[in-house]
């Protein structure tokens, strides 16, 4: 039997009615295509493992691509299209989660951490300068002994290195 026929039959069987998607992706102008692609990339396919609907070949992703195409052709805004999807499939479909009480830690956490870390680093640098200018007298004798030991060692290493 013709292998091409098997191939096409198999692909039809597995992909379901996915043919519409390609025709759907044709637009009159480039900017609309870009918006289409950007939107489809930011929306998560509800049934797939972890894929956006631009890249998934599952039937539901195809349907949703078709829907985005339809809404774009009708002149709807990106915001409207995203609201449409969220109303039906929930926040799960957004790869770009909206800022609200649930996501406040997600969005502000890293900046807060950077800020706290920055303060800690600043304190450490000040500490380092204090030792340098000799105002620090918190080291015990044993620590002082080890410190000179280490400094000699590291000086030796630096010389060896350069």
């Amino acid at each position: 039997m013709n292998s091409l026929v098997i191939a096409i039959a198999l692909s039809l069987m597995l992909l379901g009615n996915s043919m519409a998607a390609i025709d759907a992706a044709e637009f009159s102008d480039d900017s609309k295509y870009q918006r289409f692609y950007d939107l489809a990339s930011e929306l998560r396919c509800p049934k797939c493992q972890n894929q956006n609907i631009a890249e998934s070949s599952s039937p539901i992703a195809n349907d949703l691509r078709g829907e985005i195409h339809r809404m774009l052709s009708e002149g709807q805004s990106d915001e409207q299209i995203i609201d449409f999807m969220v109303a039906r499939y929930g926040d799960f479909v957004l790869y770009d989660p909206r800022l609200n009480s649930r996501t406040v830690l997600l969005w502000l956490g890293p900046s807060a951490l950077l800020l706290v870390g920055g303060v800690v680093v600043a304190v450490i640098i000040r500490g380092g300068r204090k030792v340098r200018s000799g105002t620090s007298n918190e080291l015990s004798d044993a620590e002082r002994y080890r410190l000179t030991d280490l400094l000699q060692e590291s000086d030796r290493l630096i010389e060896q290195d350069t």
Binding site: G16, N17, P46, K47, I60, D63, E67, V86, A87, R88, Y89, G90, D91, F92
Partner: protein, 179 residues
Amino acid sequence: MKKLFLFLPLALFLSISILLYRGLFLDPNRLPSALIGMPFPHFTLPSLDSPSDILSSADVKGRPALVNVWATWCQSCRQEHLMLNKLADQGVVIYGVNYKDVRANAQHLLRTLRNPYRLNIEDASGTLGLDLGVYGAPETFFIDAQGIIREKYVGVIDERVWQEKLAPIYEMLLREVTQ
């Protein structure tokens, strides 16, 4: 005091571990419907049984019911069909949404395997399915007497699932009516 800071990484790790442990018993693929608490979406679509009749959202209101999204191309729907027949025999009200299907195939299947549905909405282009947030078949919605979606179950309903999870929901909806 300073020593306490050194326990910070440990504390952080332990709290993450607790969450990870809980995560082991959650299903990351479970996706609750965004329509719970919302009225059943508006539609005007033909009836599968007699295509000249036009059905609308008013037809599924009035009493608690299951709305089952099915199709003949869906293998597991066929498996579920037998269970639905059994439920219909027990008096459970089931409406069908025939999702992206071929009319003749669907009608044939209902004739050969018996029809558990009080009525069947023919959603050939999948528009109602989209409004319902359907992403595969079978899916079953639970609506109350006011036509509000109260629950959604994704996957095949079998005896065990019905007894353990779904029958209590349906009975609760029935109780609401009598109260």
